[in-house]
Symmetry: C2
Subunit: 339 residues, 2 copies
DNA sequence: CTGAAAGCGCTTACAG
DNA sequence: CTGAAAGCGCTTACAG
């Protein structure tokens, strides 16, 4: 099938390419009659503008990039849906790249997006990300950038986050309020800000309620997944710790922990209460249903794109916008894994 | 930051744009000395070709599209990883679009990919997809197309599939071999070929082993998810069916069923054996661990891109390749949910 | 070995 | 209201 071009339409109608172009874009200086004629012909020939040419002329791709640590993750997939929803409404395509929590991959993907000349980039950092020079490069290319969820305080750009410290504080408080005195924390890797913040929220809650913080009650879940939760729980049992509550950094880690506890005949919540984080879709389905913190992923995605859009518009208008940070609310969800 | 162009480099070096372009692409008719000079300057200025211009000239975007019913799904995410792995190696970017099992969305996304002029499209159909005219449009635009997993027999193009009928037969046979006599099937929607094939495999296995096929033992799981599995199991219990085995179309549906059985004090596998399909990553983690069929998602993804690549190459060379269909092997995995 | 020139398919400032 | 012309930044057939 031969591709239809403006030239084609112009020739068929015996008018100029200029007029055809302007007619299709509803310029005011084209007569109604001509517009109607052109549009009819375009429809008849099923004309689709050649985006390659449009991109080159307008220096815009109407495409934005999204880099995320892990796609198969309920929270991130909610974010993705929020972003796509908003982007589609504004005529943007979203290119999704997964960093697999790897700094090296993340760097490559940033480069790829820059070289593809996307109009803007949204990113949630990998756990491994140690420095942010690749993000400075984005700024140098004058590409609007929005960070969300897993951000770095070192990068000057707009951000959408939740108050991880407060949310973790609330989660820990659920355990305290239900009578737990010996609360362990399964934390995430050392680098990510949200893993730090959740740890600090946990610690603060203990201190505010007269419970002694004990660093040996903090277990590491590097990848914050099911397997890590299992391992941490096994270590905790091997350590013969006296524990009556666990606050895990993610629902998956909590689920891994609960499975191990079950295997050892330890009852949740009677012997040990368990609190998760992020409200994974199956958290209400497992037995006992997991108490957790709900993160507004969809909302976060929508807000992230809206912020990016604002910056893309500003750039086009030659305006410089000061970076802004939006903090979204989280919600405590109490189910069966806590008393 | 001003973007660096070939012209820029040419001016700096006092040579022509033509020579710069050829030097960077290692044309044989450029002197070694000039090449070295050009490359050095390009590196110094951090030159990146403008893809918009390259696309327009070469009529290629080095980008392929992928449409998938659901990203947050272990099987599909394996496929995605396989595709991206192979695509990256060949310098292609993959645009992933999620149809959410909706025919309307799928059509829109096909249109979007066509209008973005991707070099090729890979697709796994939505459950709702009733006709395939949107795929014919892809062929009309002469864009290479590969279908995988959820395919339509009506579309003339290359395909990568598993032998769903045989795999379901094998799954059912596991139940039969372990002594089950009254085997229910939780099937998928009526349209998708793989849902039909799995049903047929189930039926055939019963018949081959002297068990009566009974249509009232077949329950519908429209979205083949956890919730559907729960509902089907509840209906089955409400029907007071005598059942000693369930073959569910997906692991998620199987998990939903097992949860309901547990809630009713029914033991798996002692009272009822359960067989899943697709080997979801948590299937080995749940209690009892789920017996299932392993689908080679990663492999499927790699093969899908390779096939697409072959067709893209053929198109460029002006050759027409006959469509081919590859059938991948599956594997029976026996864990604790079957005797 | 080097380069002038045409052209990919659009958009838009400008002239009439 | 219409259109000729320039130009976005490349690639490549062709001439020298």
């Amino acid at each position: 099938m031969k591709e239809v071009t403006l030239k084609q339409i112009a020739e068929n109608l015996g008018i100029s390419v200029t007029t055809v172009s302007k007619a299709l874009k509803n310029y005011t200086d084209v007569s109604k009659k001509t517009k109607a004629l052109v549009k009819e012909e375009a429809k008849k020939l099923n004309y689709k503008p050649n985006v390659f040419a449009v991109n080159l002329r307008t220096k815009e791709s109407k495409t934005v990039g999204l880099i995320i640590p892990e796609v198969v993750h309920h929270f991130f997939s909610s974010v993705i849906n929020g972003i796509i929803e908003e982007a589609e409404r504004k005529g943007y395509l979203v290119i999704i790249l997964q960093s697999n929590e790897s700094y090296e991959l993340e760097k490559k993907q940033v480069d790829l997006l820059i070289s593809k000349r996307v109009d803007g980039i949204m990113i949630s950092l990998a756990n491994d990300t140690v420095d942010t020079s690749h993000l400075l490069e984005v700024k140098e290319h004058d590409i609007p950038l929005v960070m969300f969820d897993k951000i770095s305080k070192l990068v000057q750009c707009s951000k959408i986050i939740i108050n991880d410290r407060q949310a973790a504080y609330n989660a820990t408080k659920v355990l305290i309020d239900s009578g737990c005195k010996k609360i362990a924390h399964f934390r995430g890797a050392l680098l990510p800000q949200n893993s730090i913040d959740r740890f600090l929220g946990y610690k603060k809650a203990l201190e505010d309620h007269g419970l002694q913080y004990d660093s040996s009650m903090v277990y590491m879940c590097e990848r914050v997944d099911y397997e890590d939760g299992r391992k941490a729980a096994e270590k905790l049992l091997a350590d013969k710790k006296e524990v009556d509550g666990i606050f895990a950094i993610t629902d998956m880690a909590a689920l891994g922990a609960m499975t191990v506890l079950k295997e050892h005949g330890i009852k949740v919540p009677n012997d040990i209460s368990v609190m998760g984080f992020s409200n994974w879709f199956l958290s209400q389905a497992i037995t006992p249903a997991l108490s957790t913190i709900d993160q507004p992923g969809y909302e976060m995605g929508r807000k992230a794109f809206k912020l990016l859009r604002k910056e893309m518009k500003a750039k086009k208008a030659g305006v410089v916008l000061p970076p802004q940070t939006k903090v979204l609310d989280t919600q405590v969800i109490i189910r069966e894994s806590t008393k």
